[in-house]
Amino acid sequence: MNHPVADAAATENGYYRRLQAAVEELLILKGIVGRDEIDREVAAMEERSYRRGAAVVAHAWVDPAYRERLLADGAAAVRELGIEIGALHLIVVENTPAIHNVIVCTLCSCYPRALLGMPPDWYKNIEYRSRVVREPRAVLREFGLTLPEPVSVRVHDSTADMRYLVLPMRPAGTEGWSEAQLLDIVSRDALVGVALPRGPEGS
């Protein structure tokens, strides 16, 4: 298992898929982990989605005191909503008319999974990780987001122990919207900072 002849060919032959299956089979056989335990963990993982992060943002938009607590101590504020994020430090970075925030993990793909689920491919790929710290505006344009020049862009590089979440600006025209309505306009990409929440049509 050290060096398959050629990795591309190994991938095509399902080498890594079979390696996973072999490891799983052996661990179950030895009683180190149960199939039911793996199934439950998989189900828990699939339950974690960016909707949790969106709920945090929507709540911060309607409750100014919560917004303050969220910015002061992200992990504690997220736990208030019943979201368990383990021992991680969570820093919530707020977009303002003058500052736009973007998240990356240049060294691997650290991502606030408890709030956003599994990271998308582009977040894990070399191109985003390499370039967004050097030319964030160009990268954001590739996502269809063009920021006016006076807006500063801050790029936050995550680590194994330190995760970030973007608190986007509440779009104009959403005054009087319910928390549930607001939750629906917060996309995964807005929480990473590569998009903005969609306001009402025409705004």
Partner: protein
């Protein structure tokens, strides 16, 4: 934030006495970059194409997560010891050298999972190969 660095990867930055691949640390600021250390390097356009995570990738992640609990070590004759670790997993990926870019994220993760278990003697190479060969 990652400081800008105009040097190409590994260009003349070797520090006497260090290995080709070193971990980041206070005294290794000028060490060559590992294959994972890509912040600020030139690269092509970001592909926005997304594939749904495959079942085996999810199960690999689930297993690695479960085995990170030190309470589970006893089941492998290592009471109180985690059988996997996040930093250790990353390290196994980083040691892949040129293969780092060839393998996908999920492929690196399963490679690392197998390495961590072999290193602890929880599984051995021969039984993995035997079991793997029997799987289509």
């Amino acid at each position: 934030m990652t400081p800008a660095d105009d040097s190409p990867p590994g260009a003349g930055l070797a520090v006497a006495g260090t290995q080709a691949v070193t971990t980041a640390g206070a005294d290794t600021a000028r060490a060559p970059r590992g294959p994972h250390d890509v912040g600020g390097l030139p690269a092509g356009p970001v592909s926005l194409e997304e594939h749904a995570i495959t079942e085996w990738e999810t199960r690999c992640w689930a297993i690695a997560t479960l085995l990170r609990d030190p309470a589970r070590g006893a089941r492998a004759g290592r009471p109180g010891q985690a059988l996997t670790g996040l930093d250790e997993s990353r390290r196994h990926g980083e040691e892949l050298g040129d293969r780092y870019r060839v393998l996908s994220y999920g492929e690196r993760a399963v490679h690392a999972l197998a390495r961590m278990l072999v290193r602890r003697g929880v599984l051995d190479e021969a039984e993995i190969t035997r079991t793997l060969d029997a799987i289509r």
